[in-house]
């Protein structure tokens, strides 16, 4: 007998969920709590922030002092994964610069994200400029689910009453840091609105939740939180769902494809175990994909059958298309007024204390939609790269005796400068709406497979002039804020030759849109409940169903959509429709 065989499990689950991030985690949580028997497949390894977080470690506990050599966001960052995974390539064509970040771990990328949790607004779902397709749902359809997510997971913020920046059910926000007060003053002079941030960090306890404790202000959400004080899908959704006894999680399960019956309905999933490299097949009454926008598209496109020749749920041909990531550009520098500042602990929370929601009317601008601004700086924990700006900055401002000196140096005077400049840093970054376009897409590369033999994704993506214009506007705004606050800019001044510092698509890690929702099965893959038009027992719950992103970070909308889909599934099951 050949050693090569597919291990088939006789169990038929109520649902298989592929992926354990925000979308998969929420769907599994809702279904398992409703008594459904759920199997979750996660491509990465087990991760529990309580045990695995590098929270509260000091820089010297890393031999590379926190450098990003093996982890792109530093040695203490929670992510297992990055822009490149060993043996799991992706390709690009037509000079595309798309970068794809994958976390292979329970909870996925939610273990290390910025916890910035913004709702999309009414005009993000139904646009006013007619430029993009409307979502098949409105803000009002999703609002009750945003509300439930707020209550269940916890979010801080302030009620502002802004039209397209809907308020949530907020806990008390963290107080601003010193450099943030300078930003507020400077930005206002520059005509830019600054409000309190909105983050998925517990500044208060949640009544009745004994598994999670409030934030103790170490500012290290990116390392994930041992007391579950912030939102990670691992700590807040998957691990609690396992405790119901209704959710089984298999880690290191890299899904190849969704298997369909002769009638075209989904009957299960095949996967390869990353550890033993054995092939497995598991069955369920329905399949829910939450593998990430691009990975879910990849699975569907690789799930070809006589009933679904173009890939599952792809009779419209839209799967993979309309890929879009937020735009991003930034400026940084320092505040000379803060030299020799008093030392105290200002770690605060690991999400944003303040931000600028989009504040302008597009009628007078040469780009549609807008962007929000995130701010940073202050007396952070030293890590690799610390002080590298000092031998430049010390030539830009007078020394202790009021005299200008040459940049650079060494010895006692340089050592004094490192102290003088500590905590003076300030920076800002824009995160803007990119327009969903059919010609920005991922597809299956016909020539390349990964080490498991699974055909890989090939990306095609070009920024349009509108997005470049938006980046130019960001740069001008940032420089004006920096000027008004009396800051010295040290980052490179970006011009037309670098698209005004516009980051390559994918770099902001907000990629969405590859399996879009819509009422018309010819133009969309999913209906308004994220159910495949072509396959009634197949659902998608990550960021792939997004028709058009706003400038808002995607996670809170993924959570609300996934919860809505899971509740729809329960209602349909009750009616015996699926």
């Amino acid at each position: 007998m050949s050693e090569f065989q597919i291990k088939k499990s006789p169990t038929v689950y109520d649902a298989i969920v592929v992926g354990s991030g925000a979308g998969g985690g929420m769907a599994a949580y809702v279904l398992a709590n409703a008594g459904q028997k759920v199997l979750m497949l996660e491509a990465g390894q087990y991760f529990d922030p309580k045990l695995d977080a590098h929270q509260l470690k000091w820089p010297w506990e890393s031999p590379r002092r926190g450098a990003g050599t093996v982890r792109p966001f530093g040695d203490f960052d929670a992510s297992y994964g990055g822009w490149e995974l060993d043996g799991e390539p992706y390709t690009k064509k037509d000079k595309t610069e798309f970068e794809w970040f994958r976390s292979r771990m329970l909870g996925g990328r939610t273990n290390h994200w910025g916890r910035i949790s913004l709702r999309m607004g009414p005009h993000d779902f139904k646009c006013k400029d007619g430029l993009t397709d409307d979502w098949p749902i409105t803000y009002d359809d999703l609002k009750p689910f945003y509300d439930k997510v707020d209550r269940m997971i916890g979010i801080y913020g302030t009620v502002e009453g802004l039209e397209n920046e809907p308020d949530g059910i907020f806990m008390k926000p963290p107080k601003p840091r010193l450099n943030e007060l300078f930003i507020k003053k400077g930005a206002e002079k520059a005509g830019v609105k600054v409000i309190t941030g909105r983050g998925a960090v517990l500044t208060e306890s949640i009544k009745g939740n004994n598994d999670r404790a409030p934030c103790f202000y170490c500012g290290q959400c990116g390392r994930s939180c041992k007391v579950y004080g912030d939102f990670s899908a691992s700590s807040c959704l998957v691990i609690p769902a396992v405790k119901t006894g209704n959710l089984t999680v298999i880690t290191d399960a890299m899904v190849r494809e969704v298997i369909t019956d002769k009638d075209g309905t989904a009957k299960g999933v095949s996967y390869v175990n990353r550890r033993d490299l054995q092939e497995y097949q598991v069955n369920a009454r329905l399949v829910i994909l939450g593998a990430s926008a691009c990975e879910s598209a990849r699975i569907l496109l690789n799930s070809k059958s006589p009933q679904h020749p173009a890939g599952l749920a792809n009779s419209s041909g839209v799967v993979g298309k309309y890929l879009h990531d937020s735009t991003g550009a930034s400026v940084s520098g320092f505040l000379p007024q803060l030299m020799d500042r008093k030392r105290y602990n200002e770690d605060g929370v690991g999400s944003v204390h303040i931000y600028s929601p989009w504040w302008l009317d597009n009628k007078k601008l040469n780009f549609p939609r807008g962007y929000h601004i995130e701010y940073g700086g202050g007396m952070g924990m030293p890590s690799y790269g610390f002080g590298s700006g000092v031998p430049v900055m010390n030539g830009m401002v007078p020394d202790r005796n009021g005299k200008m000196k040459d940049a650079g140096g060494y010895g006692a005077s340089l050592k004094d400068d490192y102290r003088r400049f500590y905590g003076t840093g300030v920076g800002m970054a824009g995160r803007g709406t990119a327009i969903a376009r059919a010609d920005n897409y991922c597809e299956i590369d016909p020539d390349v497979v990964d080490k498991y033999g699974i055909p890989v994704l090939r990306f095609h993506y070009k920024w349009a002039q509108e997005e470049i214009n938006q980046a130019k506007h960001m740069q001008e705004t940032f420089l004006s804020i920096m000027k008004e606050m009396g800051a010295v800019v040290t980052s490179k001044i970006q011009g037309r030759e670098t698209n005004y510092g516009l980051e390559a698509p994918g770099k902001i890690i907000h990629e969405v849109g590859t399996i879009r929702m819509g009422d018309d099965p010819k133009k969309s893959a999913l209906n308004k409940y994220c159910q495949a038009h072509d396959c009634k027992n197949l659902f998608v719950v990550d960021a792939a169903p997004f028709v058009q992103q706003g400038d808002k970070n995607a996670t809170w909308t993924i959570l609300a959509l996934s919860m809505r889909t899971a509740e729809y599934i329960l209602a349909q099951k009750k009616k015996q429709n699926i």
Partner: protein, 210 residues
């Protein structure tokens, strides 16, 4: 769960920074769920990361002469003063030995830069940098430590010294000595109450509201 419970959840009875930090050290993390062959693995690290670190630690890149030169340079850049010790006391040379293996782009510029420096000193003083007198060493460094006023022929030295200076700062300020020196006051459980009043007053920010 309230904060006291959260501290209990970490296995503690009182808020104590050092205790809490100890509790978060991987060696003391009792998972109770790990399989026997995994009990020695570091929590929160992938297997390949641990193997890679082991391998890097087993290699040696710099020669003893190069390490001696790096040590002198590091202590010229960050000497002992009233506040804290020197770069070598903070084990900066050892950090540099590790980081060039971890980030191999540093290897050639560091090795070549050290060689460039020795050759300059051989031509000037008929001896390598480490054997030159303190006065001679400083005269040499003065020519490469100020990028804007350095002579064009000193450019390779300037580029090398920029890198050496940055690696020294990285190594020093991420050490216990350096973190204390710079005055970083965080990485401890606390209640963030905003900017202290006297600091608000100092910068005239009492009335700024977000």
């Amino acid at each position: 769960m309230n904060r006291r419970d959260s501290i209990k959840a970490l296995g503690l009875t009182a808020i104590s920074t050092s205790v809490l930090i100890d509790a978060c050290k991987p060696s003391e993390t009792k998972t109770g769920t790990s399989t026997p062959e995994e009990t020695t693995k570091e929590a929160g690290r992938e297997h390949w990361e641990i193997e890679r670190d082991k391998e890097l630690h087993s290699e040696t890149f710099f020669t003893s002469h190069e390490m001696a030169t790096i040590t002198v340079l590091a202590d010229i850049i960050i000497p002992k003063d009233d506040v804290s010790g020197s770069a070598s006391e903070a084990k900066v040379p050892e950090f540099i030995e590790f980081i060039v293996k971890d980030i191999p782009e540093h290897k050639i510029p560091m090795r070549g830069g050290l060689k460039w420096l020795d050759l300059q000193c051989l031509n000037r003083y008929q001896k390598p940098f480490v054997e030159a007198s303190a006065k001679e060493q400083i005269a040499m460094i003065d020519e490469i430590a100020y990028p804007q006023k350095a002579k064009p022929e000193m450019k390779p030295g300037v580029t090398f010294f920029n890198r050496m200076r940055n690696l020294t700062a990285s190594g020093f300020y991420t050490s216990k000595i350096g973190v204390k020196d710079i005055g970083y006051a965080g990485n401890a459980p606390n209640q963030w109450q905003g900017v202290p009043d006297e600091v608000l007053k100092q910068y005239g920010m009492q009335d700024v509201k977000i």
